[in-house]
Symmetry: C2
Subunit: 425 residues, 2 copies
């Protein structure tokens, strides 16, 4: 194991946690796999979120291999799952480090033993900066990287570190942005000014440059790819200028790459003596919606050969609690259980619980609406469903399904429960 | 105290929980109020969710008084906050019991001492039904009510209870629905058939009838009110028929009422010898969006006099981490911190942290977009903001903000932290 998971595996469960039965009361996380539970035997209250172990394992290695073969390295975005048990597998599979978005996420990663951590955001809070400085001063074996995108931000960070009497310099990447986009300096010239300023700071080290192209998704995949390419050119240009000026301290890092354009990033950021660092997170579970569509575009582009063969590993299972009209069923999962920001869930399976039950693939069952705790499914002609039946839902955008679940169940191909995965949101 | 909150107050915190500082490591929930933290002194990492104590307390009593004076009773929907510390205050303020939506929510309420619990859903799971039957067989002082809306559902529930050898009957309400709506029998005739069937069951007791009018929100408030009125007439008619036929066991319950039409429900369900039971949940924190608009309609209708004077008690505070364009700031809170299903947050306040800092009301700061961990705010001309400043966000739909926060901070009017509130999602 790359991480210290014992404190997580020792955590005690309860039936106050959704998806866990009364029999979970007082059970340790590590004992879940030995209970003989199966999703379909009636012992698991629904809704429950499940990770299909074989699919996840295949995604894990398929994607790491793809990145390795592309000549890149990977610090998977941990914000997707916020599950240190999965961080551990990502690191064991060859990830260079982990990426997170926030202070609490950074603490979670560091507490369980992540040593190389990229906080892909600007830190602006006094409490956070002081606490992270104290952490890295206390442990010489951890590396914490974060971003800066303005002179004002650099000066603020600097003054907080000086006040805190921090011993080690804070290692930062300058963020280049996109006009009309999110964070990041809007021009290379401005980013270069920031880089020069950092390089002169007594308490900061410039470790590289960073960008995030993942928000360039309009629906016109070809035009998006052109914009992504132009942004990567800009980022590479900034990197080379900084390197030429000798602004970097230590081995420089050149990073971009969410889960939409990893092919373009791995190809577009190649430059002498540097291994680009990608931060994709959604590959691990993939999905049946937003990222599945984006993966198809990777395949169509084919810039690094075929797209990696990722498959959906995260499913939410819900139970039919009502059939108030002949073609309408209501299930007991809603937006508190399922992503709702990048498309509605898809009904993939139907099962009637009991001995020898199994997941039957279905088509044209339309999940068309959800409330907080309910989902609405329109049935096609001829579909036969009973109250108490189960539906298996594919999701669109794993990040906003993971964060609805304190504990997910890991299952084998027959949906026998082999373990529990704890998230930290 | 109505509930046993000690196990919650003894829970140990950590900086892995968002909104909590490094100093929270190992701190018990009950110790938070004594730390001398203030939201604006730089000690609290943002984003943080805060409950304004004085506003919440006023909402709590204002709404309970309104319900009392309307001649109704209240089982607040606990799914809104899933915070037993708040359930306790709702019960102390005069609530008849609590409502929940799911099995895990029911366990949470019962574990901390709720004695009268309405599960406002149909139970269809073997594990859940057996566990709840065992719970009520083991504790004669708890009452668990749930819903049925079909003969198939009744038969399923009955057979599971018989298999489980349950000792006490399961007490159920028949749910009347709305054509094109969610759950609930679509006609009075069908609901009456179900009621008659329940009344004959050896393992079920018919305790009343129930409906939910809260999904009738189209944007035409006057037309919505007419539809709600018609539905309440139907529900009352069903109730009276069941009563006339002697189908009810024990004191009958007549329940409807979310947070949108509580005035119409309290008035519309009045009938001889029965106190209607409402289940509003959002009144406790109210909001600055969806429910605030619906409250204005309550005032315009004036059917029970003025609307109760509810004010927003739940705020999410975020920090400015970037100002990449002159009129654009990016804050470190997104859809993982804020409701996104019933309108975007509103920027209510701006504060510059430090000694003597305070919340300054702002206008026309437009929160126009969010990603998972970021919010985008367009500034009006003349607004002056620095990196590191704070913004106070009002939210729309408390249910989907509460569920983003394992711990919320309770604050006084000067934003001094007076305690911590634990949620169970």
């Amino acid at each position: 194991m790359a991480l210290d998971l014992d404190p997580i595996l020792d955590l005690s469960l309860s039936a106050r946690i959704k998806g866990l039965p009364a029999a979970a009361e007082g059970l340790a996380m590590r004992e879940v796999g030995a209970q003989g539970w199966n999703l379909f035997d009636g012992s698991i209250p629904l809704p429950a979120a499940v990770i299909r172990s074989s699919v996840l394992t295949k995604n894990l290695h398929t994607f790491q291999t793809y990145i390795d073969q592309a000549g890149a390295k990977l610090a998977p975005h941990g914000k997707t799952s916020m599950c240190p048990q999965l961080f551990d597998r990502q690191l064991e599979a060859g990830a260079w480090g982990m990426t997170v978005a926030t202070f609490s996420q950074a603490n979670t990663a560091l507490d369980y033993g992540v040593k190389t951590l990229l906080i892909a955001n600007e830190l602006a809070g006094v409490a956070e900066i002081r606490a992270l400085a104290a952490r890295q001063d206390a442990a010489s074996d951890i590396l914490i990287l974060s971003l800066v995108d303005s002179l004002a931000g650099v000066e603020r960070l600097e003054s907080i570190l000086i006040d805190a009497d921090a011993k080690r310099p804070f290692e930062v990447l300058v963020e280049l942005g996109i006009s009309g986009g999110r964070t990041g300096a809007r021009t290379r010239a401005r980013a270069l000014d920031i880089a020069r300023r950092v390089a002169q700071s007594p308490v900061l080290s410039l470790r590289g440059v960073e960008g995030y192209e993942g928000l360039i998704v309009t629906g016109d995949a070809a035009a998006d790819a052109v914009r992504v390419g132009a942004f990567l050119d800009d980022l590479l240009g900034l990197f080379n200028t900084c390197r030429d000026e000798g602004l970097f301290a230590g081995e420089p890092i050149l990073s971009a790459g969410g889960s939409a354009y990893f092919d373009l990033v791995a190809r577009g950021l190649k430059t002498d003596g540097v291994t680009p660092l990608l931060r994709s997170g959604c590959y691990l579970t993939h999905d049946t919606g937003f990222y599945n569509k984006l993966l198809a575009h990777v395949g169509e582009r084919g810039v690094l050969g075929p797209a990696p063969a990722l498959n959906p590993a995260l499913e939410v299972w819900a139970q039919v609690v009502s059939q108030p009209e002949p073609d309408l069923i209501i299930v007991n999962a809603g937006r508190r259980d399922l992503s709702d920001d990048a498309g509605l869930p898809k009904v993939e399976y139907h099962a009637t619980p009991g001995a020898n039950a199994s997941a039957q693939a279905v088509e044209n069952w339309s999940f068309f609406r959800m409330n907080d705790q309910h989902g609405y499914i329109r049935l096609p002609a001829g579909a036969s469903v009973n109250i108490g039946d189960y539906v298996g839902l594919g999701i669109s955008h794993p990040c906003t399904t993971f964060d609805r679940w304190p504990v997910l169940l890991e299952v084998d191909d027959a949906y026998a429960v082999t373990g529990a995965l704890k998230t930290f949101f």
